[in-house]
C-alpha cells in the first residue's frame, strides 16, 4: 500500500473506508432488522436504513477508489485470497444443505409435507440455470476482451452479464410472488423452510455478485480497471454459478 | 488399577469390554450408579498418574534450571537426531493412545450397562414442561409436584425394582437429572428418550432440571421417592381412585 516502492514508508497508513463501511453494515443489517422484526418500529428501521445505506455506498466507493489508485504492499495475492474465502462460503452453504437433508431424510415417506403445491414450476429453474450459465460465459468473454486491451468490449460484455444477473433475480422474484400467492411461504412447512432459505441465500449471493460487477463497471466507464479485481469478481460469480447447480438439483428436482 | 502400556492391550480391552458386560448383566441387575463410582475412582488414578508425571517433572526442572546469571543461556541441543525426533513423537503417542483406548473400553463397558434396560423394569412416562415434571404410570395414573406450593408426590417407585423412564417435553428442552443415581438425559419436544435406574432400598431423593430452560430453570425439581413395593401398590391404587 505504500507508494514508496524504493525505500520504506515513514508514514502511518490510514483509510476511513473500513470504518464507514462497518458502521453502514451495522446500521443496515442488525439494527434495521431488530427495529423492524423485534420492536416492530418501521420509523426506526427506516431511520437506520436511511443512514446506513448511504454510508455503505460511500464506504464501498471509497474502498474501490483506493484499491484502484494505490499500489499495495504485495501485489497479485488476491486471486489466492478469494478461494480461501470461498472455502468458508462453501461451508455456510453446506450448513444449510445439511439442515435440509436432515429434515428431509427424517421425514421419510411424508415428503413433501402438507402445504407444498402439487406442481412446483420445474421449468423456471431450467431457464434460470441457462441465464446464470450464460452470464458466466459472457463475463468470461468480457475478461478476454480486457486482456486484449478492448475496454469498450469489456464494458459491453460486463453490462450484458449484469443484465443477465438481474433477470435471474427477476425470475426469483416472479417465482417467490407466485408461491406466496399460492400460500407457500417460509413458514408453511419444513420444505418451504429449506426452499426459501437456500434459494434466498443463494439469491443474496447473486445480489452481492452484481454489486461487485457494478463496482467493476463504474470505474471502468472512467477507464479504470484492475486485472486482479476483475479476475476476483469473475471467480466469485463462477462460484455463485456452481452453487446454483447444487441448489437447483437438491431443492427443485430431488 | 493397572495401566495399559501398549496399544494391543488397549485394543484388546476394547473388544473384551462387550463380552464382559454381557456376562455381568446376565447374572443379576447391577446398579449403574455403583459402576459409575468405581469407574470414576479408576479414572482419577489414571489422570492423576498422567498429570502427576508432568507436574512433578516441571516443578523439578523449574527448581533445577534457574538461571545463574542474567546472561545465562540454555544448553539443550539445537536439534534432535532424526531417530530421537521420531522416537519422542511415536512412543508418547502410542502410550497416550493406549491409555485412551483403555479408558474408552472401560467407559464403554459401563455405558452398556447404562443403556441396557433390565427386562423387569417398571415403566414410567415423564413429561416435562416449563417448569414442571409430570409422571404417568402404566395404568394412566398421573403424579406431579408443584414447586411453589410444595405440593404433590413427585415420582414414586417401588424399591428394589429397576425403573425405566420414557421422557418427552411439551415445549423446550429440559433434562432429567438424578444426582443420586449418576444419571441425566435431555427431555425434548418431538422425541422420546429413556434412562433407567435402580433404587435399591427405600429412599428419598429428587430430580432437577439440568438443561437451561429459562426463568425457573433453577426451581424445576420434584421428589423421587422409593418406597417398599407393597406401599407403592397402595399409593398407586389410592392415586388412581382419586383421579
Amino acid at each position: 500500500m505504500s507508494n514508496h516502492a524504493a525505500g520504506h514508508t515513514h508514514h502511518w497508513e490510514f483509510s476511513w473506508a473500513p470504518m464507514v463501511l462497518t458502521i453502514g453494515i451495522v446500521l443496515v443489517v442488525p439494527l434495521t432488522f431488530v427495529s423492524w422484526f423485534v420492536y416492530k418500529n418501521p420509523t426506526l428501521a427506516a431511520g437506520f436504513a436511511g443512514v446506513g445505506v448511504p454510508l455503505l455506498l460511500v464506504g464501498i466507493s471509497k474502498w474501490v477508489a483506493e484499491g484502484l489508485s494505490h499500489k499495495p504492499l504485495i501485489e497479485g495475492v488476491s486471486p489466492s485470497a478469494l478461494p480461501i474465502f470461498i472455502i468458508s462460503e462453501v461451508f455456510i452453504f453446506l450448513g444449510l444443505f445439511v439442515s435440509y437433508w436432515t429434515m428431509r431424510l427424517s421425514a421419510g415417506g411424508a415428503w413433501p409435507p402438507a402445504g407444498t403445491p402439487e406442481h412446483m414450476n420445474l421449468a423456471l429453474p431450467v431457464v434460470m440455470t441457462i441465464i446464470l450459465v450464460t452470464s458466466s460465459v459472457t463475463y468470461h468473454v468480457a475478461e478476454e476482451k480486457l486482456d486484449h486491451g478492448d475496454l469498450g468490449g469489456f464494458r459491453g460484455w460486463l453490462f450484458l452479464s449484469i443484465i443477465l444477473g438481474l433477470s435471474f433475480l427477476g425470475c426469483t422474484i416472479y417465482e417467490y410472488s407466485h408461491l406466496l400467492h399460492e400460500g407457500f411461504g417460509p413458514s408453511t412447512n419444513a420444505y418451504s423452510t429449506a426452499f426459501f432459505s437456500i434459494t434466498g441465500f443463494h439469491a443474496s449471493h447473486v445480489l452481492v455478485g452484481l454489486g461487485v460487477f457494478l463496482a467493476v463497471l463504474i470505474p471502468a466507464l472512467a477507464g479504470k480497471t484492475n486485472k486482479y479485481f476483475t479476475f476476483c469478481a469473475g471467480m466469485y460469480w463462477h462460484f455463485v454459478d456452481v452453487v446454483w447447480f447444487f441448489v437447483a438439483t437438491q431443492v427443485y428436482y430431488w | 488399577m493397572k495401566k495399559a502400556f501398549g496399544l494391543p492391550i488397549g485394543l484388546g480391552a476394547l473388544l473384551l469390554a462387550q463380552a464382559a458386560q454381557a456376562a455381568e448383566v446376565a447374572g443379576k441387575v447391577v446398579d449403574p450408579a455403583k459402576e459409575w463410582d468405581h469407574l470414576w475412582h479408576e479414572l482419577l488414578i489414571d489422570i492423576g498418574i498422567m498429570g502427576g508425571i508432568f507436574a512433578v517433572l516441571a516443578a523439578y526442572w523449574i527448581y533445577k534450571y534457574q538461571a545463574k546469571s542474567p546472561d545465562d543461556i540454555g544448553t539443550a541441543p539445537r536439534s534432535l537426531s532424526r531417530a530421537q525426533m521420531w522416537a519422542w513423537a511415536m512412543v508418547p503417542a502410542f502410550i497416550f493412545m493406549a491409555d485412551d483406548f483403555f479408558l474408552a473400553a472401560k467407559g464403554w463397558t459401563v455405558w452398556n450397562i447404562y443403556r441396557t434396560v433390565p427386562p423387569n423394569a417398571l415403566e414410567v412416562k415423564v413429561t416435562a414442561s416449563m417448569w414442571n415434571w409430570e409422571f404417568e404410570y402404566a395404568d394412566g395414573t398421573k403424579s406431579t409436584y408443584y414447586v411453589d406450593a410444595k405440593e404433590g408426590d413427585g415420582l414414586v417407585v417401588p424399591a428394589g425394582r429397576p425403573v425405566v423412564l420414557r421422557m418427552t417435553s411439551l415445549d423446550v428442552i429440559h433434562s432429567f437429572g438424578l444426582v443420586k443415581h449418576r444419571l441425566k438425559e435431555d427431555v425434548m419436544p418431538g422425541r422420546i428418550t429413556y434412562i433407567w435406574f435402580l433404587p435399591k432400598e427405600p429412599e428419598k431423593t429428587f430430580v432437577t432440571c439440568v438443561e437451561y430452560c429459562g426463568t425457573n430453570h433453577a426451581n424445576m425439581y420434584a421428589p423421587v421417592v422409593a418406597v417398599p413395593p407393597a406401599e407403592f401398590e397402595q399409593w398407586l391404587k389410592k392415586k388412581a381412585n382419586k383421579a
Partner: protein, 534 residues
C-alpha cells in the same frame, strides 16, 4: 489510503490500517469485554454465595441472573479470548515474527477490527434494551425461539464477530504464505505463527457453520421457518449439532494460539530451543486440526443422540489427548536444560503449565460418555473450562501483554506489581474453581441462581465467591500496572529478554510504520529459538 506524517494524530489511530495499531485496538476492545464480563462474573458469584435469591429480584426469579450469565459467557469467549488471541496477538506479533511490513490486506484488517467493535456494541445493547437476550452463549432452541428475550442481538453479535474472524483468517493465511522474509522456510517459523495458521484454518472452516446455525435461529424466531421445530418436520437437535460442530473446534482456536504464546515465552525466558519442534507442529498442531472436527458430539452426550455416535465420538475425543500430549511434551521439554529467567511473563507461563494439566486432564472424564452422563451440566464442567480457557488461555493473553510490553510501548512493565497481580490471580482462581470441581462431582447444576435442593453446597459457593474477589483484586492490580508502566515505566533496552526472534532482533521498540528499518532476510541456519552455545 492516504498517508500522513508521523507524530500523534487521532485520525491516524482511528482510521489506521497498520497491523500494530489494529492489534492495540483489538487489545483495548477485548480487555474491555473481559472487564465487563468479569464484573458480571462477580454478580453471578455474589448471587450464588447464598441460598435463595441474594441480589436478584425475587419476583422475576432467574431472569436477571440469566442475562448476566448470557453476557458473561458470550463476552468472555467471543469478545475477549478469540479477539484477544487471534486479533490482538496475531495482529501485532505475527507480521513482525515473519519479517513482514504489514499484513497482505491492511484495509480488510481494519474492517475486521471495526466489525469486532460492531459486535461488541451489539453485545452492549444487552444492558440497554428492555428485552435483553437470555439464551446463554449456546443459544439452544426451542428456548431461544420461544423466549421473550432479544435473540436477534445474540445472532447478530455472532455474525459480526464471525465475519470479522473469517476475514482475519483469509488475511493472515495469505500473509504467512506470501510475505515471509526471504529465506524463511516453513520449519523456521515461530511456533506462534504456526499456531495462528492452524487456528485460522479451523476458523475458516467452522465459523461459517455457526453463522448458518444462528441464521436459522433468526429465521425460525422472526420469519416463522421450522428448522428446529419438530411439530412441523424440523429437528430439535440440529442446532446443537451445528453449534458444537463449530464451538468445539473453537476451543482449539483458543488453545492453539495460547500454546503458541507459551512456546515463545518459555523458549525466550529459558533461552532454550523448543523441544522437538517438528512434532509440535506436525503432530501436535496439525493433529488437532485434523481431529477437531470429529468430536463435537461430546457436548451432546446427554442429548439423546444415537448410542453409536456417543461411543464413536468418545473415542475420537479421547484421542485428542495424543496431539495435545505431543504439544505438552514439547512445551514441558523446553524447560529441560534451560536457563530460567523469572520475568513476569514467565511467571504466568510457568503457572499456565500447571493450569493446563488441571484443565486438560479434567476434560478426560467429560470425554467418557458414561462419566459425562453424571458430570455434564454441572459445575464440574465449569471448573474444567474455566481452568483451561477462563484461566489458562486468559493468562496467556496477560502473559503476552507482559512479554511484548517493551515491544509495544518501549517501556518495561512494572515487575513488582506484575508479580503481585500474578500471585493474586493464581491464588484467586484456585480458590474460586476448586470448590466448583468438588460440588460439581456432587451434582451442583449449571445456570442455577438458586440451589434450594442442595443446601449443603452453600459454604463451597461462599469460598468460590471469595476467590472471585481475589481475582478481581489481582486483575485490578494488573490492569493498573499496564497503564502506569505504559505512561511512566522505565525505558526498555531494544531486546530486554534477549530473544532470538525477528520481532526483537530486527526491529525497534516500538516499531514504526513499515516495521523494519532494513528489509529482513534470513539464512538457512537461522531459527527463532537458537541461543548461543547450542
Amino acid at each position: 489510503m492516504s498517508t500522513a506524517s508521523s507524530g500523534f494524530s487521532l485520525k491516524e489511530w482511528v482510521f489506521t490500517t497498520d497491523h500494530k495499531r489494529i492489534g492495540i485496538l483489538y487489545l483495548i476492545g477485548s480487555i474491555a469485554a473481559f472487564t465487563l464480563a468479569g464484573l458480571m462474573a462477580l454478580l453471578i458469584r455474589i448471587e450464588q454465595s447464598s441460598l435463595g435469591p441474594t441480589i436478584v429480584n425475587p419476583n422475576t426469579g432467574g431472569d436477571q441472573y440469566n442475562v448476566w450469565l448470557y453476557f458473561h459467557g458470550a463476552a468472555m469467549i467471543l469478545g475477549f479470548l478469540i479477539p484477544g488471541l487471534t486479533g490482538f496477538a496475531a495482529n501485532y506479533f505475527l507480521p513482525l515474527m515473519i519479517g513482514a511490513k504489514d499484513v497482505a490486506f491492511p484495509r480488510i484488517n481494519a474492517l475486521s477490527v471495526w466489525l469486532f467493535f460492531g459486535g461488541i456494541v451489539l453485545a452492549l445493547l444487552t444492558f440497554i434494551v428492555s428485552d435483553p437476550p437470555d439464551v446463554m452463549w449456546t443459544g439452544y432452541p426451542p428456548y431461544s425461539i420461544r423466549t421473550g428475550g432479544n435473540t436477534a442481538l445474540y445472532v447478530f453479535t455472532v455474525h459480526l464477530l464471525g465475519f470479522a474472524s473469517i476475514l482475519g483468517a483469509v488475511n493472515f493465511l495469505v500473509t504467512v504464505i506470501y510475505m515471509r522474509a526471504p529465506g524463511m522456510g516453513w520449519n523456521q517459523m515461530n511456533l506462534f505463527v504456526w499456531s495462528t495458521v492452524t487456528a485460522f484454518i479451523i476458523q475458516l472452516v467452522f465459523v461459517p457453520v455457526l453463522a448458518a446455525a444462528v441464521t436459522m435461529l433468526l429465521f425460525d424466531k422472526y420469519l416463522g421457518t421450522h428448522f428446529f421445530d419438530p411439530s412441523a418436520g424440523g429437528d430439535v437437535l440440529l442446532y446443537q449439532n451445528l453449534f458444537w460442530f463449530y464451538s468445539h473446534p473453537a476451543v482449539y482456536v483458543i488453545l492453539l494460539p495460547a500454546l503458541g504464546i507459551l512456546f515463545e515465552i518459555i523458549s525466550t525466558c529459558t533461552r532454550n530451543m523448543v523441544f522437538n519442534y517438528k512434532a509440535a507442529v506436525y503432530g501436535g498442531m496439525w493433529g488437532i486440526v485434523l481431529i477437531s472436527g470429529e468430536v463435537w458430539v461430546h457436548h451432546l452426550y446427554i442429548s439423546g443422540m444415537p448410542d453409536w455416535i456417543r461411543i464413536g465420538q468418545m473415542v475420537s475425543t479421547l484421542l485428542i489427548s495424543v496431539p495435545v500430549g505431543l504439544l505438552t511434551i514439547s512445551l514441558f521439554g523446553t524447560l529441560y536444560r534451560g536457563a530460567i529467567h523469572f520475568t513476569v511473563a514467565m511467571h504466568y507461563a510457568l503457572g499456565c503449565l500447571f493450569l493446563f494439566l488441571v484443565g486438560g486432564l479434567t476434560g478426560i472424564p467429560l470425554a467418557m460418555t458414561v462419566l459425562d452422563v453424571h458430570l455434564s451440566e454441572t459445575s464440574f464442567v465449569h471448573a474444567h473450562f474455566h481452568f483451561i480457557m477462563g484461566i489458562f488461555a486468559a493468562f496467556t493473553v496477560f502473559a503476552a501483554v507482559y512479554h511484548w510490553f517493551p515491544k509495544m510501548t518501549g517501556r518495561l512493565p512494572g515487575a513488582a506489581m506484575g508479580k503481585l497481580g500474578f500471585w493474586l490471580n493464581i491464588i484467586g482462581v484456585h480458590v474460586t474453581f476448586y470448590p466448583l470441581f468438588w460440588i460439581g462431582v456432587k451434582g451442583m447444576p449449571r445456570r442455577y441462581y438458586d440451589y434450594q435442593m442442595f443446601p449443603e453446597f452453600e459454604p463451597f459457593h461462599k469460598i468460590a465467591t471469595l476467590g472471585a474477589f481475589i481475582v478481581a483484586a489481582g486483575m485490578a492490580v494488573t490492569i493498573l500496572n499496564w497503564i502506569i508502566s505504559a505512561i511512566s515505566g522505565e525505558k526498555s533496552p531494544e531486546n530486554p529478554w534477549k530473544s532470538g526472534s525477528l520481532e526483537w532482533t530486527h526491529c525497534p521498540s516500538p516499531p514504526g510504520p513499515g516495521n523494519f528499518p532494513k528489509d529482513v532476510t534470513v539464512t538457512a541456519d537461522w531459527h527463532p529459538y537458537t541461543y548461543g552455545k547450542n
